[in-house]
Subunit: 188 residues, 2 copies
């Protein structure tokens, strides 16, 4: 038997998620410097003081949005021998089901000036270096970057270029076809 969370707590989580989603949306379309807390609040359908209550200030909110930590937990959550297929499936299912992508925020680094470097450093530490640490054999760092590159590409093709053939295919079908390419970098 599962216990439903108390309504107040569920509302807080829902509100926080809406605020993070709004901040992610805006950061993919506008320079960091041009985004106000008010705009984030408006897009999330909450008041600016509520954003401050949950996240402290704009920098703290954006630091949270610019982290890949939680997303990478799910992305990398498979045994190494099946990781290629799992990651392809996860990227596509995340885009389809949540309109989100565990990796795609890195593509918007050029928008954010110095903050783009924060995004790059987080991406390296939390995604590519973390994957590389699981690989054996020569050139693990390069192989991890190429595996992640292939995943970013399929995310851009699905969520940004909106390739019609890819968008019409199921995550499992694409994972069967594209997963082995990613896997070839992980376990050559």
């Amino acid at each position: 038997m599962t216990t439903a969370p108390a309504p107040a707590r569920r509302d807080a989580e829902t509100t926080k998620a809406a605020i993070l989603k709004a901040a992610r949306y805006l950061l993919a379309r506008h320079a960091h410097a041009d985004i106000t807390l008010k705009a984030v609040a408006e897009r999330a359908g909450v008041s600016p003081p509520l954003v401050l209550k949950y996240f402290g200030n704009k920098d703290a909110l954006f630091a949270r949005v610019m982290s890949f930590d939680t997303d990478a937990d799910d992305l990398l959550d498979a045994p190494l021998g099946d990781l290629g297929r799992h990651m392809v499936r996860h990227v596509l299912a995340s885009q389809r089901d949540r309109g989100a992508d565990p990796l795609l925020r890195i593509a918007f680094a050029p928008l954010h000036g110095d903050h783009g470097d924060v995004l790059r450093a987080n991406f390296r530490a939390q995604v590519t270096d973390r994957l590389a640490a699981r690989l054996t054999g020569p050139d693990a760092g390069l192989r991890a970057e190429l595996a992640v590159a292939a995943l970013i590409g399929v995310g851009v093709m699905y969520g940004i270029a909106r390739g019609p053939h890819l968008c019409e295919s199921g995550p499992d079908e694409v994972a069967d076809r594209y997963g082995p390419l990613v896997q070839a970098q992980l376990t050559p």
Copy 2:
């Protein structure tokens, strides 16, 4: 014996290239609606009237920047059996030598509202559909999109995420390693 172009003509080509480069730079960082001809001219180091002289108006300039036609000519310029390796090499060499990427502009489609759809339609007609037309066998459309996805990904990892291992590797080395993955979509 080759004949050097007359200085005036060479200057015009250099100027046009500088204007296109400036427009590309700004379109990768700002919403289409926020970019002025004046800003393009300033970045290119020319006067606004000169931009108008060469490109007519802002829409005509941006239409030119939003086309993938010329870039796709070079990208796809190899026999099908060696195309995977050629395309990987071309993406990396373009980034390294010219600071440009034949495909990466598609990643900035979300910045440009309705103009983003122009970018997507051009990308489809001039890149993925054109590649698909060269493929034989089932699912040519999906395979072309996945091959191009892999290329976009390596462009993002090199030029935007700036993965240190990838940036330190030569285009030939990466093409040897990653080209077969692209090729597997072209000639499975």
